[in-house]
C-alpha cells in the first residue's frame, strides 16, 4: 500500500493553544463578571458562540469550524459531556474550554476540520 506523506505546514494545522486562547478571550468578554440570570442566558450562549467563531475566522486558516457552548447554573448538579471524531488526525483537531465564575459554568467546544 502506498502511503502518502504530506507535509503539513503550520498554516494548515489546527493549533489547540491558539484556539483555546481565542475561546477564553471570547467568553470572558461576553459573560465575564455576570451572575446567572435566566432572562439573559439565551442571549449569552449565542453571543459566546458568535464571538468565538468570529475570532476563529479572523485567523484566516482553511478550516471548517464547529463551535458549541453550554452555560449551566451552579446549583449543585453534575455535568458530563464527551465527544468522538473520525477525521484526519494530522490536520484536524478539537478544543474544549471550561470557564466558570461564582454562579455558572460555561463550556465551549471548538472542532476545526481542514479544508
Amino acid at each position: 500500500m502506498l502511503q502518502f506523506y504530506v507535509s503539513v505546514s503550520v498554516q494548515t494545522q489546527f493549533v489547540v493553544d491558539e484556539v483555546s486562547n481565542v475561546i477564553k478571550e471570547a467568553v470572558e468578554s461576553t459573560i465575564g463578571g455576570n451572575t446567572y440570570q435566566q432572562a439573559k442566558v439565551n442571549q449569552w450562549a449565542s453571543s459566546v458562540v458568535e464571538s468565538c467563531l468570529g475570532a476563529l475566522t479572523k485567523l484566516q486558516k482553511p478550516f471548517k469550524y464547529i463551535v458549541t457552548s453550554v452555560i449551566m447554573q451552579k446549583t449543585g448538579a453534575g455535568l458530563h459531556t464527551a465527544s468522538s471524531c473520525y477525521w484526519d488526525n494530522s490536520t484536524d483537531g478539537s478544543c474544549t474550554v471550561r470557564w466558570e465564575n461564582k454562579t455558572m459554568y460555561c463550556i465551549v467546544s471548538v472542532f476545526g476540520l481542514a479544508i
Partner: protein, 752 residues
C-alpha cells in the same frame, strides 16, 4: 452573523486524499455535582405573584365663583309693612296696625320682643358705642399744608371727527353723569356743517358717551334739571331753547321757535326753583333774559331787557349783552347776570318796573364776565371771573370788589367756588391750566396750578360733593380731575375765619365807598361855587370855619381824612374814565339826563345850567347880565354836550386829558366873557373873579397836590352848610363882589 473567509488553495492540493482515523471518545467536560451549591437554593411552592387590573382614572379640580359676603348692620327705623300697604298713607297704616293688634298672638309676641328690646336698650345705655374717641382731631387744615394735588381720573374726547369746543358742562344730580355741550363759538366759524350733537357721559366710562342729544343746531349751554336727572334744558347757537328727556330719545321733547327765542346764542340756561319744577330762564348777548315754561316752549312767560339806564322805556339798543346767569335756589327771586360789557347786574324778579327789577349794577371787569357765582356758604358774597383776574364782591359794596386776584398773564375763561370748602375757588385759563385758590391761605397766588392740556380751557364745573372737577377745553376734550382731600374737606375754623375776613374786607370797602361819595359831592359843590370857594378861602371867616372844624376833629378822623384824600385821587381817575365813557354816550344823546339827575347838588348853578334849555337861558341872558349868565349862554348854545363837558371839567380835575378840555372850555367860557365885559362895566370884577375862578380851576388842575389840599379844604367847608352860607354872606360884604352875589341870587331866583 456573517462571516466571510476567502482562502486560496493550490490546485495541487485539490482532491487530496483524506486519511481518516478514528478519534476515541474524549470527555469534554466533567463537573461533579455539588450539594453545597444546592443548599443555596430553596424550593418555592406555591409561588405568589401579584397582578393588578384597574381602570385608569384622571383627577381634575374645579372651583366655582366665589360669592362675596359682607357683614353689615342695619339701622331699622321703620319698615316691615306688608306689600299692599303704602307706608306713606296714614290711613292704611293705622288700619293695618288695628288689625294686627286684634291678632291672638299679638300680646305674647310683644312681651317676648319687649324683653329682648329691653336687654338691648340696657346694653346701649351702659356703653355708648357711637362715642367719638378722637373728637379733638383736626381733619384737613388749610389747603397749603399737607399734600395738595389733583389727579386726572378720566378724559372724555369728542367722538365726532371734527373736534368742537366744549362750551358748557353740567353734572347730573346723582353725580354719575356729566352733560357737555359742544359747539364752535368762534364767530362765523368756517364749518357751518359741524355735527350738532352733544353728549352725556358716564363718569366711569370714557370710551363712549352714555347717550347723545341731537338738537336742531349745536348747543351752547346745557343744564340738568336738579330735581329730575332725566331732563335737560339747553340753549342753542341760533337762540332756541330746547328740553330733552332721556327716556324719550335723543331729539328734544320741546323746542322754542326761532321767532320768540333769542337773537344770539343762548349762553346760559338755568333751572328755576319753582312750584311746577318746570321753569327755566335763559340769557343771551342780545340783551334779553327770558323765562320759559318747559312744558310749553312756544313763547317765553316773562322777559327782561338788560337796559341799566334808568329810563321809562328800556331799549334793546342800550341793553347789555348777557353772558352768564347766576341763580341760587335758596334765594328764588333774586338773580345776577354777567354781561359782555363787563358789568354784573343784580336783578329782582319780583320788580314791577324796569328800575325795580334792576337792583344793582357792579362794574366788574374790562371784558365779558365769564362767570358769576355766589359763595355756597356765604350767599352775600359772590365771585366774578373775567378778563385777567377773579374778583370777590359783597352785595353791599357796589363800587368795587372786596378783594381780587392779581391780574394774570393769561385770560381767565371760567371758574367756580368749591362747594365743600367755602374758601377755595377754581379758575380755568386760556392756556389750559386750572388754578386752585384758597383765600384764607394766600390771595396773591394760586395754591395749586394744574396743567390740564395744551388747548385753552373753555369751561369748568365742580361736582356738588366737591371732589370731582370737570374742565372742558377748546378741542373738545373734557378732563375729570379728582382733588386731594385737603382741597375737599374744610377745617372747623374755616367758616369762622372766612366770615371774619369777608366782614373785614366789606367794611373796608364801605368806608372807601363812603369817602368817595363824599369826595364826589364836594367836587360838585366846589365846582359850582369855585369862585365862591376860592374867595371864601382867602377870607378869614372861611378860614376860621375850617379852623373850627379842625379843632372839632379827633385824631382818628384826621387819619381817616388822610386816607380818604389818598383814595380820592384814585377815585378821581376812575370817575374821570367813567366820565369820558359817559361823554361818549352823551354824544349818542342818551345819558345827558342821567348826568343831570345824578350829580344834582342843591345850590349849584352849574347843574341847573345843564337842565335849562337853550331858549330859556338865552331869554334870561340880558345884555349887561353877569358873566355867569353869559357863561350859561355860551355853554347852552353849544348844546347839552358842552354843558355836560363843562360840568365834567369841574368834576374831573385830576386827569390831564380832561383837564385840557377843561382848560379849553374854561378859556371858551372866558373868551365870550370879555365880550360881555365890554358890554357891562359893573360886573368886571365879577368876571375877573369868574376868570380867576376858572383860571384857578385850571391851575388847580395842573397841580394835583394843590388840588388835594384844596379838596380837603373844600371838604371841611362842605361838612357844615353854615360855613357855605357864611361864605355867601361874606361875599355880600365886599362892594366889588356885590353884583356877583346878586348874580347868584338872580340865577337862583330864575331856577326857582
Amino acid at each position: 452573523m456573517e462571516f466571510q473567509y476567502v482562502y486560496i488553495k493550490k490546485r495541487s492540493e485539490f482532491g487530496r486524499q483524506c486519511f481518516f482515523t478514528s478519534e476515541p471518545g474524549a470527555l469534554s467536560c466533567d463537573i461533579p455535582p455539588d450539594p453545597e451549591l444546592a443548599a443555596q437554593f430553596i424550593h418555592v411552592n406555591p409561588v405568589h405573584r401579584g397582578t393588578q387590573v384597574g381602570c385608569e382614572m384622571s383627577e381634575h379640580e374645579v372651583s366655582t365663583d366665589r360669592a362675596e359676603f359682607a357683614t353689615t348692620g342695619i339701622n331699622h327705623a321703620e319698615g316691615g309693612w306688608a306689600r299692599d300697604i303704602n307706608p306713606q298713607d296714614v290711613e292704611q297704616t293705622t288700619r293695618f296696625k288695628k288689625k294686627v293688634e286684634k291678632d291672638d298672638m299679638y300680646m305674647s309676641s310683644v312681651l317676648q320682643l319687649g324683653a329682648l328690646m329691653e336687654h338691648c336698650i340696657k346694653q346701649n345705655n351702659t356703653l355708648d358705642m357711637y362715642e367719638e374717641y378722637f373728637g379733638g382731631e383736626q381733619d384737613g387744615g388749610p389747603a397749603g399744608e399737607g399734600s395738595t394735588g389733583a389727579k386726572t381720573v378720566n378724559v372724555f374726547r369728542d367722538p365726532c371727527p371734527q373736534r368742537r369746543a366744549v362750551s358748557s358742562l353740567s353734572w347730573s344730580p346723582d353725580a354719575t353723569r356729566l352733560a357737555a355741550a359742544y359747539t364752535s363759538l368762534r364767530f362765523q366759524s368756517s364749518a357751518r356743517d359741524l355735527p350738532v350733537q352733544s353728549f352725556v357721559w358716564d363718569v366711569e366710562n370714557p370710551s363712549r358717551p352714555d347717550y347723545t342729544l341731537t338738537p336742531p343746531d349745536s348747543l351752547v349751554s346745557l343744564e340738568f334739571n336738579p330735581k329730575e336727572s332725566f331732563v335737560l334744558a339747553g340753549g342753542t347757537y341760533r337762540g332756541r331753547v330746547c328740553v330733552f328727556d332721556r327716556r324719550r330719545g335723543a331729539l328734544p321733547v320741546d323746542l322754542s321757535p326761532l321767532e320768540t327765542g333769542h337773537a344770539d346764542p343762548v349762553y346760559s340756561t338755568v333751572w328755576v326753583n319753582s312750584k311746577s319744577g318746570a321753569e327755566i330762564f335763559t340769557a343771551s348777548t342780545d340783551g334779553m333774559v327770558l323765562w320759559w315754561d318747559t312744558r310749553k316752549l312756544s313763547e317765553p312767560i316773562e322777559s327782561l331787557i338788560l337796559d341799566v339806564n334808568k329810563t321809562q322805556e328800556p331799549s334793546l339798543r342800550a341793553a347789555q349783552g348777557a353772558t352768564v346767569l347766576e341763580y341760587e335756589t335758596t334765594i328764588p327771586t333774586k338773580f345776577m347776570i354777567g354781561t359782555e360789557q363787563g358789568t354784573v347786574i343784580q336783578c329782582n324778579r319780583k320788580g314791577k318796573t324796569q328800575t325795580e327789577k334792576i337792583a344793582a349794577v357792579y362794574q366788574a371787569h374790562l371784558g365779558p364776565v365769564q362767570q358769576v357765582q355766589r359763595n355756597p356758604a356765604f350767599l352775600k358774597n359772590f365771585i366774578t371771573i373775567g378778563d385777567w383776574s377773579a374778583k370777590v364782591w359783597s352785595e353791599d359794596c357796589k363800587e368795587s370788589a372786596i378783594f381780587w386776584t392779581n391780574p394774570g398773564e393769561v385770560r381767565l375763561t371760567g371758574g367756580s367756588w368749591s362747594p365743600s370748602r367755602p374758601s377755595v375757588f377754581f379758575t380755568s385759563k386760556a392756556d389750559g391750566t386750572v388754578d386752585v385758590w384758597d383765600v384764607l391761605y394766600q390771595q396773591r397766588l394760586p395754591v395749586l396750578t394744574i396743567q390740564v392740556g395744551d388747548s385753552p380751557l373753555e369751561t369748568l364745573r365742580v361736582q356738588e360733593a366737591g371732589a370731582l372737577l370737570a374742565a372742558g377745553s377748546a378741542d373738545g376734550q373734557i378732563t375729570l380731575l379728582e382733588l386731594s382731600d385737603t382741597l375737599v374737606n374744610s377745617g372747623k375754623n374755616d367758616r369762622l375765619v372766612l366770615t371774619a375776613m369777608f366782614e373785614r374786607e366789606t367794611r373796608r370797602e364801605k368806608i372807601l365807598e363812603g369817602k368817595n361819595r363824599e369826595a364826589r359831592l364836594l367836587k360838585k359843590m366846589k365846582e359850582g361855587n369855585s369862585a365862591v370857594s376860592e374867595r371864601s378861602s382867602t377870607i378869614s371867616p372861611g378860614l376860621t370855619a375850617s379852623a373850627r372844624l379842625e379843632k372839632e376833629q379827633t385824631e382818628v378822623e384826621l387819619i381817616e381824612d388822610a386816607q380818604s384824600t389818598f383814595f380820592d385821587t384814585v377815585c378821581q381817575v376812575k370817575s374821570a374814565r367813567r366820565d369820558v365813557q359817559m361823554s361818549q354816550m352823551a354824544e349818542k344823546g342818551v345819558v345827558a339826563d342821567l348826568d343831570g339827575a345824578e350829580f344834582q347838588a342843591p345850590d349849584l348853578a352849574a347843574a341847573d345850567e345843564a337842565d335849562q334849555p337853550p331858549d330859556a337861558v338865552s331869554g334870561t341872558a340880558v345884555p349887561g347880565s353877569a358873566s355867569r349868565q353869559s357863561a350859561t349862554k355860551v355853554s347852552s348854545t353849544t348844546g347839552k354836550r358842552s354843558s355836560t363837558i363843562a360840568k365834567k371839567s369841574s368834576t374831573s380835575t385830576a386827569a390831564a386829558d380832561v383837564s385840557s378840555t377843561a382848560a379849553t372850555k374854561a378859556s371858551s367860557t372866558g373868551a365870550p366873557v370879555p365880550e360881555s365885559e365890554t358890554e357891562t362895566a359893573s360886573p368886571t370884577d365879577a368876571t375877573e373873579t369868574e376868570t380867576a375862578g376858572s383860571s384857578s380851576l385850571v391851575t388847580a388842575v395842573d397841580d394835583p397836590a394843590a388840588l388835594g389840599r384844596a379838596l380837603s379844604v373844600a371838604e371841611q367847608i362842605a361838612r357844615v352848610v353854615d360855613s357855605l352860607e357864611e361864605a355867601v354872606d361874606d361875599l355880600l360884604d365886599p362892594t366889588s363882589e356885590e353884583t356877583g352875589a346878586t348874580e347868584d341870587q338872580s340865577t337862583e331866583q330864575t331856577e326857582s
